[in-house]
Point group: C2
Chain length 430, copies 2
């Protein structure tokens, strides 16, 4: 168990400063049970704007630990462990680590690889043959499952391997943690994108009255919800949000858009790419049943499909923005709070491993009090692997297309500095 | 004619500082030919991240001019003039103007309205009835045509109206000016978006090896070209750019992607949304010939169509980002150079009108010398209205899918501060 040590407070610039109570491990603990050993670290799953900050946090903490001998980076996550494709991170130029802090995406390469029969044992064997005693894995649900299986395999093989996961996902759907590094930056991008793009619709409502914005988030609406964080007045965008937690029928959607158009003269709707209809069919798939002139299957997406519906059924001009990978990667929209926390969970993972922990994931726990602050903690990987956390009911408004004040209180601090205030004319009629 | 006066130099923060030689009109000139009068100003066409800066520049210059009586904003461009939907800008709180400088989109509202028979005369009549002597119109090609017709109508009607256009378009396709305000910020967004999003593809090339990014730019490739401005090495994204100036066949595209994939192990391709095939058919339309399960016509886009092609013909997983309105609106990616120039052309337009100019558009002329600097000038609206400026041949590489050093020298200063340097591991194999 990690024991509380000194309290290291760090403040970020601007509003939304974060204070971390980083549990510092007493030095006697460092040498208990295991001597020096190599560290292997990997990145897994969809990259984020701050996943490299977790790598930097862990590697810099490793530099400071006598227990850590070589520091190896696994190329493309667990795939690099399995085929022993490793790079020696002690040979990187020292200036690299500062530069990586502000570089989005996974510098080691990432993967979406689900372990097959025997893979966990093979991976542990590779680590044992290498002399690695510490394995850190930065990722989401699937990565937690991979790490958990490796921890179990190491125990079976009686090899003293310390496996710690570092949480990472823009989807924010990991259980046991207040939130996930990567989410705040993607949320900041989407809040800003919605504020900015909606002003475009507002400037010419008679020309393009309806806009859809398609967002990621897998089966949870956490990310879609962030689109509302720049909203100040009822008439501000987004007017409608469609969460994966709630099935959506074409009829319901068209009724919502018609009503919002009548009320606001324009409609900006945010739709999660995974939204399904009441039969469980994804809207994107519903829009993908045609073929093009050459007989190729036509692929659509939820927003594209809904835009087609609006044009065909309501006769309103509509278009969509699909930021795609930009929402997970935007270097210009990183939340400084998110980046600092991503670095902190990387550091905490390394220290936990050195302190003798294994089969755990680092968590973030929000400290009580009016000022936002988080401290790192640990949870069992078995409690995380393959478990998803949907948006709680109390974060979605009763009609199902908006977010509550409770969600705003939860999410706004994660976005870092205050969102800009866009100006509008008072507009005194001449 | 505007005569050269003092030289007002302003420097922006960071690299890419801009110096303006703003032609200051001598005060004797101000009162020649016309006494006090009202100003009407409007915004037109697709909004940009800095079109409000032009509004601020013009309005603040008007505050300083004795010749200007009331300052009216036309709501939704020429539509507001025609239906006398005007707001009194002298009644806005003074703090608004600073806030508008950093607010994207058109605060007055914009329009895409092509004048019909008699509209120009009706618009001038409205202005005459109001007592307006100055009309400033911030917009692109269509807006220049509107303003030109109004200037001609005023002359016919023997009404002394001074009509000046303020250039604005992310498409950068206005003739007679080195570049157009709005372009630098959209370019900065796309250069960053391509750098960031490409790192995502690079982190998992075996999972999603092909990515398309669909960009705007009407019939010119200026904007598509900016996606390459963060590229430093041959293997960096974008690997392929498809310009509206060059027809694209499915065969050519698939061959390019196959070759790039073989060479780099991944492909990031940027495609202008208006790219056409050799028969002049837009690729988006080619992908829009099916219907969905309910018989609604399916709409596609160029990137969506090309993604379908890659999957069907090459068997490679592919996806696309379509930033849509975000590329014209992003408040987080504004080029400070662009913003300062947008403000400067607004100011210059007001001063030109007061100095007696009419039927003109403000231009930006690049000063010779190693440091980037621009000065404002004027050109006849007749030379601008309905005239497009395609990318010059020397800005596109011979094979037609990349940009030249000459383009980089032209465009990089417009993006403002230096682009961030993304870090990569050296990667010494362990």
């Amino acid at each position: 168990m990690i024991q509380g040590g000194q309290r290291g407070i760090r403040y970020n610039e601007g509003r939304g400063c974060a204070a971390f109570a980083e549990t510092v491990v007493s030095s006697e603990k460092d040498t208990i049970g295991m001597g020096r050993g190599h560290l292997v670290i990997g990145q897994s799953g969809g990259a984020t704007a701050v996943i490299n900050a977790s790598l930097v946090g862990a590697v810099r903490a490793a530099f400071a630990e006598d227990a850590i001998d070589s520091i190896y980076g696994a190329r493309y996550g667990i795939e690099g462990v399995l085929r022993r494709d490793l790079v020696d991170l002690r040979q990187e130029p020292l200036g690299l680590w500062d530069a990586l802090l502000t570089t989005p995406s996974a510098a080691l390469g990432s993967c979406r690889y689900r372990l097959r029969e025997g893979d966990a044992e093979r991976a542990v064997t590779q680590l044992r043959d290498l002399g690695a005693r510490y394995f850190l894995y930065i990722g989401g649900n699937d990565s937690a499952d991979t790490a958990h299986q490796m921890a179990l395999a190491a125990r079976e093989m009686d090899y003293d391997l310390r496996v710690i996961c570092v949480p990472k996902t823009i989807d924010n759907d990991l259980p046991e943690t207040d939130h996930c590094p990567g989410y705040g930056s993607a949320g900041r991008f989407l809040a800003l994108a919605t504020m900015d793009s909606a002003l475009c619709t507002e400037s010419m409502p008679s020309h393009y009255p309806v806009k859809l914005i398609e967002v990621m988030g897998r089966d949870a609406g956490w990310l879609a919800a962030t689109a509302a964080l720049g909203k100040e007045r009822e008439e501000d965008a987004p007017h409608l949000i469609y969460f994966p937690e709630r099935p959506l029928s074409a009829e319901r959607f068209l009724r919502d858009v018609r009503e919002a158009h009548a009320r606001y003269g324009q409609v900006v709707a945010v739709v999660a790419e995974t939204v399904r209809d009441e039969q469980g069919q994804s809207l994107g798939a519903l829009g993908s049943q045609g073929t093009d002139a050459f007989g190729h299957p036509l692929l659509s997406g939820a927003a594209q499909y809904l835009v087609s519906l609006v044009r065909a059924e309501l006769g309103l001009r509509a278009r969509f923005d699909k930021p795609g990978d930009l929402q997970r990667m935007s270097s210009a929209c990183v939340s400084e709070t998110d980046r600092a926390e991503a670095e902190a969970v990387g550091r905490a993972a390394l220290r936990a491993a050195v302190a003798g922990e294994t089969d755990k994931m680092v968590t973030l726990a929000r400290a009580p009090g009016p000022e936002y602050a988080c401290e790192t903690g640990l949870t069992e990987l078995a409690r995380v692997a393959n478990t998803l956390r949907p948006m709680p009911e109390e974060f979605i408004t009763p009609e199902g297309t908006g977010v509550t004040e409770a969600f705003r209180r939860y999410a706004l601090p994660l976005l870092g500095a205050a969102l800009p205030q866009h100006a509008r004319l008072v507009g005194v009629q001449a």
